[in-house]
């Protein structure tokens, strides 16, 4: 019955690859997805069971048995045969187990950071370091945010020296594309 492919004989289905856009709540993940996507960011939902038990820090809110987590995503058609998908990961720590499914098969991740709330990036960074998912840190340069150099950020986040740090404007298509290119180049530079 393994005729899935033979059914499709005359058709070549495109290869799909994905990149994760991670970062804390409000850092601009969906903004970045929207800036580079050829479609308006779409939203897909996963229904989780027993989410949040024990790690839910919304004090006063009882842990739900079912929780819906929304992920925004966008698409860039590279060619007829190759499509890139960008997934904004749910920001809350308590959904980090959902990242396993998202991170599986991902080329790599962009950790969007805000210099006013750098500490909130640690959870993401730890996660990708532990999983050995290649990532770059892109500092979304909010107006009013203090200006830091990439080296400052590297130090403050205690990053591996090989981890690229870039400044970006998540609203800007060119800037956001440059972040994606930097991630891909970083992945290519890693030993196979």
């Amino acid at each position: 019955m393994d005729s899935v492919r033979s059914d499709a004989a005359p058709v070549v289905l495109p290869t799909a690859v994905k990149i994760l856009i991670a970062g804390h709540f409000g850092v601009g993940k969906t903004t970045m997805v929207g800036a580079v996507s050829e479609i308006r960011p779409l939203r897909t939902e996963e229904v989780l069971t027993d989410a949040g038990i024990g790690v839910d820090d919304l004090s006063g809110v009882e842990a739900k048995t079912h929780t819906t987590v929304a992920m925004d995503f966008g698409r860039i058609t590279i060619s007829r045969d190759l499509v890139l998908y960008l997934f904004g990961t749910p920001g809350q720590d308590r959904f980090s187990f959902l990242w396993d499914e998202l991170a599986s098969g991902a080329i790599g991740a962009v950790v969007l950071a805000d210099t006013r709330r750098l500490k909130e990036s640690f959870a993401c960074i730890d996660y990708f370091e532990e999983r050995e998912t290649p990532f770059v840190v892109a500092v979304n340069c909010f107006e009013g945010g203090e200006r830091f150099t990439p080296a400052d950020v590297q130090l403050a986040l205690n990053l591996d020296p090989g981890t690229p740090v870039l400044m970006c404007d998540a609203r800007d298509r060119t800037s956001s594309r440059a972040v994606l290119v930097a991630l891909l180049q970083h992945v290519l530079s890693l030993p196979v």
């Binding site: 059914d7 690859v17 079912h66 992920m71 997934f87 098969g105 290119v181 992945v187």
Partner: protein, 121 residues
């Protein structure tokens, strides 16, 4: 036992996703993830006996489309869509291409093609 269904989150369809899949949470056939690409093997037919959601999947997948896009268009949880896709796959109404395996994902040429595309598009 399950907690009361009143816990179900806001903004759900009238028919609950589990009902649509007869309570199943895993596809009968195939392994899908959010970027699995799906293509219908035939045009939609008005009286094909499919459930409305499955019929909609056939309509939406006349061109290659990802599971994530189908889920967004159908406004259903991705897990539900994967179960429906498993049924359609076993009925040979769709073909699919699973994404590359978890590690060592994309080959060098693929990565280079993506870089090239991002720079020139």
């Amino acid at each position: 036992m399950e907690a009361p269904q009143e816990q179900w989150p806001d903004a759900v369809p009238v028919v609950r996703p589990y009902a649509m899949t007869s309570g199943r949470t895993t596809p009968v056939r195939g392994a899908f993830d959010l970027i699995s690409i799906v293509l219908a093997t035939r045009p939609p037919e008005p009286h094909d006996g499919l459930h409305p959601e499955s019929a909609q999947i056939i309509r939406q997948s006349q061109e290659p489309v990802s599971v994530a896009e189908l889920a967004a268009e159908l406004d259903l949880p991705a897990g539900t869509v994967m179960v429906l896709l498993g049924d359609l796959l076993s009925q040979r109404l769709i073909v699919t291409r699973s994404p590359t395996p978890a590690r060592g994902v994309a080959s060098r040429p693929v990565l280079e093609a993506v870089i090239h595309g991002l720079r020139t598009l």
